[in-house]
Symmetry: C2
Subunit: 739 residues, 2 copies
């Protein structure tokens, strides 16, 4: 592979991924959408999801325009002569657009795939898996494809505008600086999608449960509950679009920061070395391209058979993609890096020569760490494993001990993932300096297409189960969707661990990029009290951010509760239907024909769209405060002291990753403890299990915002803060050290 060819290869492979995404999306659309009732339910969910996206993107457009103007104006003071002011804003807008478009495509397909998965479950387990996974793979391919198309396309255009950038040096740094606007754009969407989506999904969930299940006494997911659709929409909004935007941001962040670190590797070395300088800049793009191709090949290995374990099918695809990625990366690096190795000047490691295999090892260590963190997450949150077992045991003595044990499991579960991440950092650094750490982050993320496909499969399978429930499908069909859904819980847990791990490494890479952009003027020696203060404040921010997200869920849920109560009160057809449904539920039997008559008469009378609108506006409104905090913190601290800002970046990352793992795993473990008690209950339900289940439900309710709102939002916080720092670095440099 010739180095400059990579520049044009990137958009080509991106287009390939997008074409394949379209093929898969078309295939999903062609599948049987099920009977009339299933289609109606599907339409409600799809319309609700799109309504959220529309409102979100409307707010986003204003945000993006304002920030773009600020970027264009503020950067002018730093490098006016180079006319980069407008270009960085262009990168920013395009980054936001690509991430938003990927979210739109992914969600469109996911909301089509849910009913079709339920319909395919009538035929067989593998058929249903194929539809659900195809739906998820569209999200994965759209994210990888649009990320590479946008970033690669912009890079190619900017290289034509600044041809000297091809030789490395200042022009390359300039181009990469412009390009980093793309990263900020991706972060903006991630903030809205992940934080807003996280608030949405849990506000709808809590609102639907509290009024429907607790107050009105009707079953979960019942069509009479106006918030039911919002609840299902929430799964898509939070777990499909939110997760997609989160990983899109990490992916872009890892690529750009490794390019920036690669570009500065050769600064200060003799001109003779400069020729090899661009290898390190192109390499991240090459690894990304290989990851996409490996993922697409991996897709073909995802299958299962009737009675088989869908998890194994998903694992096979992921592991094959990982293996191919490593092999491809080894080959590419061997081609691009001279046999004698590259002599580089690393900010920390100093002047040193790295061989091709060392760089390959750095990439592989990131991938290995990603897999290890995922598997550890699974261990701590899976049913029938020891950690969840201790929570089940503690449920015997009530809700309080369930909560304490769940918190203990979550806090304890930080140890091994942190040690894995530490091992990856040290080995990547020993292999290839700071650049190695960024390449490790990229190695973790390079197979994003199949990783995200597996993640997005989860909520599709979950929705399919909901549709099957609402459409009153047969027991054997429900058994199939349940099986897919159970696997979805595991992939969701693994996906969360993976998202946290990659966010941590990406944030550290972005921090390293920030340091190099500050041209060595920033020292983050923790013995310097200003750095220490930055570390302390950074350490505190995820706590405050989590608190804000948790409170936001509570407040948004209140709005939802009011609305559902209003509809129950004001819509005349609902009252008799609710009474009939509640009567059947309280007597623990299916509704009689007469009752069903009354219930069906109220079909479609509940105003789902109004609940969707309420969840949407509440979510978007409540994410403003934490969002503003995340954006302004690095700016304010950076104006006070750049060393303090450096400390802030490190502090927020290390504390954020611990807090995110703790919250995600506590939440996941509580969820599965509840499930395990329920499963045991099928065999021998009694008073004790009833009480245990109640305690576990309390645990799960506490865990919901932990694992779906505040926990995942921390990923965004730590990346957004470091992206903002990286973007304002030239400005801060000019301000504190003269231009």
């Amino acid at each position: 592979m010739n180095t400059s060819q990579v520049v044009y290869l990137v958009p080509s492979v991106a287009v390939l991924a997008l074409v394949y995404a379209m093929i898969r999306a078309a295939w999903v659309q062609r599948q049987d959408p099920g009977d009339q009732r299933m289609q109606t339910i599907g339409t409600w969910i799809a319309d609700g999801a799109m309504a959220f996206l529309k409102r979100e993107y409307r707010s986003l457009t204003i945000f993006v325009v304002v920030v773009a103007i600020i970027l264009a104006v503020s950067n002018a003071s730093v490098s006016a002569t180079q006319h980069t002011n407008g270009l960085i804003a262009v990168s920013f807008v395009l980054g936001a657009f690509c991430s938003a478009l990927a979210g739109y495509i992914g969600m469109k397909t996911a909301t089509a795939a849910n009913t079709r998965t339920a319909a395919a479950a009538r035929t067989g387990l593998n058929q249903a898996l194929q539809v659900a996974f195809a739906g998820g793979s569209v999200m994965g391919l759209a994210v990888a494809g649009l990320a590479l198309l946008g970033l690669g396309g912009l890079f190619a255009v900017y290289l034509r505008m600044y041809p000297t950038a091809l030789e490395g040096g200042d022009a390359t740094s300039l181009v990469l600086n412009i390009l980093s606007g793309f990263s900020l754009g991706a972060s903006s969407i991630a903030l809205f999608s992940r934080v807003g989506g996280g608030i949405y999904t849990k506000a709808a969930d809590v609102g639907a449960d509290l009024v429907g299940k607790v107050e009105a006494g009707i079953p979960e997911d019942h069509p009479l509950n106006p918030a039911t659709i919002a609840d299902n929409v929430g799964d898509n909004v939070g777990d499909v679009a939110g997760m997609g935007a989160d990983l899109f941001e990490s992916y872009i962040g890892a690529i750009i920061s490794s390019m920036i670190l690669g570009a500065t590797w050769f600064v200060g070395l003799e001109a003779a070395q400069a020729g090899t300088g661009m290898h390190a800049v192109y390499l991240p793009l090459a690894v990304a391209v290989i990851g996409v191709i490996a993922s697409i090949i991996g897709f073909f290995f995802v299958r299962t058979q009737e009675g088989g374990d869908p998890q194994q099918g998903l694992n096979r695809g992921t592991f094959i993609a990982g293996l191919l990625m490593v092999l491809g990366t080894v080959a590419a690096i061997k081609m691009m890096i001279p046999a004698a190795g590259v002599r580089v000047s690393d900010l920390i490691a100093g002047e040193v020569t790295y061989s091709w295999w060392q760089i390959a090892l750095a990439v592989a260590s990131g991938l290995a760490a990603g897999i290890a963190v995922g598997l550890l997450t699974e261990y701590y949150t899976a049913t029938e494993r020891e950690p969840v077992g201790t929570i089940v045991e503690s449920a015997r003595t009530g809700a309080a001990t369930t909560i304490i044990q769940g918190i203990a499991v979550g806090m304890n579960s930080t140890s091994l993932p942190i040690l894995v991440i530490c091992a990856a950092i040290v080995s990547a650094f020993e292999c290839a300096g700071l650049y190695g750490i960024a390449m490790a982050a990229l190695g973790m993320l390079s197979t994003i297409a199949i990783q995200l496909a597996t993640d997005a499969y989860g909520p599709i399978a979950d929705n399919a189960g909901g549709v099957a429930e609402m459409a009153r499908m047969g027991r054997d069909i429900r058994a199939r969707t349940d099986k897919l859904d159970a696997v979805g819980n595991t992939t969701a847990a693994i996906g969360k661990g993976f998202a946290i791990g990659s966010a941590a490494l990406t944030a550290l890479s972005l921090t390293a990029a920030f340091l190099t952009k500050m041209q060595g003027e920033v020292s983050i020696n923790a013995a310097d009290p200003y750095v220490l203060v930055g570390l302390l404040i950074g350490c505190m921010l995820p706590f405050r951010f989590s608190a804000m997200a948790m409170v936001a869920v509570g407040v948004a849920a209140q709005d939802m509760i009011q609305e559902v109560r209003r509809q129950f009160r004001e819509i005349p057809e609902l009252r008799p239907a609710l009474d009939a449904a509640q009567r059947a539920e309280s007597e623990e039997r299916d509704p009689t024909d007469a009752e069903n008559e009354i219930i069906r008469a109220a079909d479609g009378k509940a105003d789902y769209s109004h609940c969707v609108a309420i969840a949407t506006s509440a979510a978007l409104q409540k994410m403003i405060a934490p969002g503003v905090m995340a954006v302004t913190a690095p700016v304010v601290v950076g104006l006070i002291s750049v060393n303090m800002l450096g400390g802030l970046l490190v502090g927020v990352t290390i504390s954020g990753v611990c807090l995110a793992i703790f919250q995600a795993n506590s939440g996941g473990a509580w969820d599965n403890a509840k499930k395990q008690i329920k499963d045991e209950g099928h065999a021998k339900w009694g008073d004790e299990l009833e009480e245990m289940h109640k305690a576990a439900v309390t645990g799960d309710t506490v865990g919901d915002p932990f694992k779906d709102t505040s926990g995942p939002s921390i990923n965004i916080l730590i990346k957004l803060i470091s992206v903002v720092a990286m973007i304002i670095a030239p400005l801060l440099y000019a301000l504190h050290f003269g231009s």
Copy 2:
């Protein structure tokens, strides 16, 4: 004040404090111990507390002997020619002994003061306050006195052994190095008392409640419950001895680290400056002496009147002591520091001249920060304030929302205290470099005698209420002890905030001392991946430590539950008495005379001492694992890389302080939310308040280990790790950089 006079002044003032402590203790003993029943209850509690101390000190003796031998042997390899090997072990043993003795004296008086406070409450509110506060002040004076006697005495002896140390330079460093063993001794006791005591108090509490209240249906604190005494003992063990050992450790750590930092200030400067060198070494001792005198004067201002607010009485004493301390410090510094200021060489600030007022300002900033953190803690945890109000509100929708809101309040409450600590760090550093930060820690702790007196007052008042309850005293007397107890809750909350703040600053000072002892060979630049990994692991440790402490409480409580159940089953007199008590309780009435007959027949049949023994051995056994982790982590990491160890120290401190504030304030807020609902309930108790109260009880049960076990234990973790690092610094230096 002449500088070398300080050396002899320290033991003198220490003796003064101890004599005054003895006078106060004798006064407490002379008070009316109440009627026969009160005296019996008091004896049970006192015996239980002593039984715990005896067992604890027996285990400790083994631990201290083993560590002393290791210290004597291992340090031999570093400085064998200077015969310091044995001396550091001597310092260590004496440090452990002084802290243990302070705990013994404090607890002896506290367990005598509880019944006497209840008895004095028969006379009046001020009388009861005087007894309770006198009991607490013995603890405060014993800690300050024994700390200064041990440390000051050793320093005087070592100065005589190494007379050249009086001139500054290497001999001074050597003496201070030997002296720092005293700090490790104090830390060992703190580990056992705070972690073991924290496990004890909550295991007894949970065990007593679950079997007594829930299973047997008898009231809280009922004499028939064999775990009742263990529960009351726990308050003394955890909140008197544990808190005392915690602050003893901080106090010693702050004094020694500022002495070490002061000694290295003049290294590298011309000999002409060396004459002023010892000022900075003596100054911490002078500030400590002034703080003790100021505290003793403050004691005289603690009083209240019938119908008055005891809180105001306590505050008056504390504020007057603080004011006197600042005035005294200003005077002392003005005398000891030349008018032209001192020219110093700070590890971070470089060569710089500091005036006397700058050093005074550093001390004052620490005191101000301590007060501010305390007041903020009060705001976040007090009834009728907004944070607790939001938890009360969330209790309307059940236990899950109560837990979520409580966690949010705790996480949110980290922000302002962290910013206060940051402000103190920056201003202290700007005033007087790294030495300034250590002096700020000392400023916060210098009035420890009165601070700790106020802290220890809380559990005494709490116990007095318990004694009044068990001895069935009149309603107006109960109202007085309740009032004292309510104030005790507030002082406990403030004390916790204060302990966390001072632990954070002390740990940072100890870290700075570690860095200076490593003679500039350790760089904690967070851009160095090894430092980063140290930060990450450090950040994770408090999470794991908290999880271990929480799980330990659960396991220890199980042992207690088994024992109480066994006694109920096997002791023949208990069954009929329990039935009678339960019948009265379930019918919500006082027992009839006939029932009382049966109940009193069982008096003294419950085997309290066995429950005390079980709580004791469970607590001491369960603290081994977290203790071992705290001691070995810095050793293992230090052997791998000293830079990583530097990162570890910073990481564990910044994450530990956030996690400790979060847990302490969540726990405190839940406790008071329960209290507020109960208080409202007196006016208009109904089904809704009943449900809210249940939810709040769940919150409080979760909060119990948070605020009394895992939260406070983190203080010990962060200090112990940095003390161990400081102690092994010469060894690590020899190992990594040659001797």
